[in-house]
């Protein structure tokens, strides 16, 4: 098999020392959710991440209503178009080279960033989990083929590939999300598969099988809830990856021309050459992207232990 590696989590066993076999069995989705809430409440870093994320989501939903101006409208004063003005009382974040208000752009952009990343993460997780479940549970030839494809997906440089895929088709937001999904399902698929493989051997699953439960039932009732921690972990990674990928792809010029995303803002600034001086144009969008990614990082920090498979020790 190819290297079962993912960047943030070590999928193949690399944990030295013994296996702390504190493998908790999760009984249902509700069980999982309540565990999660408890964990977040107890960890100050995760808590700050959760608050940050909540603020950003609220910003995404309600922000555009509070935007002082239309982000696409050039702004004028008595003297003429307000091109590239630094922050002022009327424009808290100043204006860009087309005289558009930057704060408004920022607020509208939040909707794109948050919405798109959640959508992409859901799709990544859905496909990754589906493939992981199928591959792990049914094994055999299906498993072999799917894993070979995943191997290849691991090796392809992500950002260039997404850029190419988007350039192939129209540069629309949906295509960007689709391209991101196309490449990023690999990590979750692999880990879910590993977890399914180990779950298959656990007594409560074997008992279920012995008493004649259908595959579908077993997957739904026993395997899925126990796969949830991994699924959420990779959903988090998916959000982060999608945000950065969209910003990067937009920055390269392949973004959706009709949308004012944070990456697009930076692309304009860079293309014009304004990045040398217009700090008010450059700092805000980048900071927002960083905050969104950071909030998810803080939330998923506590997960590394659960997902780092000491459970899947030493298997290639």
């Amino acid at each position: 098999m190819g290297s079962q590696l993912s960047e943030s989590g070590i999928v193949r066993s690399s944990k030295p020392g013994g296996v702390r076999s504190s493998v908790v069995r999760i009984r249902s989705t509700k069980d999982f959710i309540s565990r999660e809430i408890k964990r977040i409440r107890q960890d100050p870093l995760a808590l700050s991440g959760a608050i940050m994320l909540l603020i950003l989501v609220l910003l995404a939903i309600f922000g555009p209503f509070f935007a002082p101006y239309d982000p696409w409208e050039p702004q004028y004063s008595e003297t003429g178009a307000l091109r590239l003005t630094p922050p002022s009382a009327q424009h808290w974040l100043g204006t860009d080279s087309n005289a558009r208000d930057i704060l408004s752009q920022l607020l509208y952009g939040s909707r794109i960033a948050v919405g798109m990343s959640i959508l992409a993460a859901s799709m990544i997780v859905f496909i990754g989990t589906l493939i992981g479940l199928t591959s792990g549970y049914f094994g055999g030839a299906i498993d072999a083929i799917l894993m070979r494809i995943t191997d290849a997906a691991f090796v392809i440089p992500s950002i260039p590939f997404v850029a190419v895929l988007v350039a192939l088709t129209r540069p629309s937001l949906f295509n960007i999300v689709f391209a991101i999904t196309f490449l990023y399902w690999r990590s979750s698929a692999r880990v879910v598969r590993g977890q399914v493989l180990s779950l298959k051997e656990r007594p409560f699953v074997k008992a279920s099988r012995a008493s004649g439960a259908s595959s579908f039932y077993i997957i739904r009732k026993h395997i899925l809830p126990n796969v949830l921690p991994f699924v959420t972990f990779y959903a988090a990674i998916g959000v982060q990856g999608a945000v950065i990928a969209e910003a990067s792809v937009s920055f390269l010029g392949f973004g959706d021309p009709g949308l004012m995303s944070w990456g697009k803002m930076l692309q304009y600034a860079f293309a014009i050459g304004a990045t040398r001086v217009a700090w008010w144009w450059v700092i805000p969008p980048g900071t927002m992207i960083s905050l969104l990614v950071l909030s998810v990082y803080l939330l998923r920090r506590g997960y590394e232990e659960v997902v780092n498979p000491r459970l899947i020790r030493g298997q290639r």
Binding site: P16, G17, G18, Q42
Partner: protein, 350 residues
């Protein structure tokens, strides 16, 4: 010649929400060349006690009261560096589960040498020679020195730990369930190594185990622990021949005896939750001989003689209890039969 005197030690594990009283007011005395067995089921606090003595408690574990005396010094009051000097030279440790206890990326010989060099100014070669000798004492081939832990069998690894513990000829050795993770045949091998080690040295040993058979073979004296408390002490002959505490009787029942086909009996129920204050005798919910006094009044450790003590209000009825305890039906009672106590109406001594 007491070399280690544990004086009313209490250890708690503090979590965010509550505290677990793992060890409550335990006192022990270890003499030179004495092998003291510490028996009890999982979770009774014996490992915690060992870790407390060795200062290996996790961050959540705190010694809330008591003293641990060695040659007049209270070990708990020593600074980290002072204690570090004592480590291994005075206090050695043989942990359980040898695979997890040895560093996987270092050769076992080097790990033994490390223990020596940490405390003695000798050359590496001299230390290696000593390691070689120690290995041969436990019947390990010289080649094993260069092996990595995973390359050795479970029994061999455990012998490495035994050899390592004796490296500095310490007066106190704490042995924590060394045979737990092993199969029966290997258990016997390791036990025989421990016995020959006992015969070779004059170190005092605290042997912690739930394996009563092993304790009987290795130890001179025994202390039985339950729910963080010592509930009976005595020498091996007394404890195994004439146990005084119902719990000890139950424990002994669950050890298969070589002669006679006795039915194995297990004690129903589970040990109490150590998070809450325990009312009365800790064992009373599972004791077939309990009565209202046991429910309300916590028994202190009654000293029967210099070597014998027991924490039971009715230890004077032990003889009768022993007979009854052999009947498996007694142990299945959810409620104690009033009739049991009334059977001894004539014997009751308030």
């Amino acid at each position: 010649m007491s070399i280690l005197s544990v004086d009313s030690i209490s250890v708690e594990y503090q979590t965010l929400s509550d505290a677990v009283r793992a060890v409550q007011g335990v006192s022990l005395n270890l003499k030179e060349a004495q092998i003291l067995g510490l028996a009890g089921e999982s979770g009774c606090g014996k490992s915690t006690l060992a870790k407390a003595i060795l200062r290996l408690l996790p961050e959540t574990g705190i010694v809330v009261s008591g003293k641990i005396n060695f040659k007049g010094k209270d070990l708990l009051r020593l600074s980290t560096s002072e204690f570090r000097e004592l480590r291994w030279q005075i206090l050695a440790y043989i942990p359980q589960n040898a695979l997890n206890s040895l560093d996987p990326v270092y050769r076992v010989g080097d790990q033994v040498v490390e223990a020596i060099l940490a405390h003695e100014r000798v050359s590496r070669n001299a230390a290696l020679d000593r390691a070689r000798q120690l290995f041969s004492n436990v019947h390990l081939d010289e080649r094993s020195l260069r092996a990595y832990p995973h390359q050795l069998s479970g029994g061999m690894r455990q012998r490495v730990l035994i050899a390592m513990a004796m490296a500095l000829d310490p007066p106190i050795v704490i042995i924590d369930e060394p045979t737990t993770a092993l199969d029966v045949v290997t258990q016997a091998q390791v036990l025989s190594e421990l016995i020959s080690m006992r015969n070779r040295t004059s170190s005092g040993m605290l042997y912690i185990s739930h394996d009563l058979g092993a304790i009987r073979q290795l130890c001179n004296d025994v202390a039985v622990m339950y729910a963080g408390l010592i509930i009976e002490t005595g020498n091996v002959g007394d404890i195994y021949g004439e146990p005084l505490h119902p719990y000890t009787m139950g424990l002994l029942n669950s050890v298969p005896k070589s002669r006679g086909a006795k039915r194995l009996v297990s004690i129903p129920g589970a040990p109490p939750n150590l998070r809450s204050e325990i009312q009365g005798c800790a064992f009373h919910p599972r004791c077939p001989f309990r009565d209202t006094r046991c429910v309300k009044e916590t028994p202190k450790l009654y000293e029967i003689s210099q070597t014998r003590s027991v924490a039971c209000h009715y230890h004077h009825k032990a003889k009768n209890f022993r007979i009854l305890a052999e009947d498996p039906n007694i142990w299945q009672m959810p409620e104690p039969r009033e009739a049991v106590m009334s059977d001894f109406k004539e014997d009751i001594v308030p």
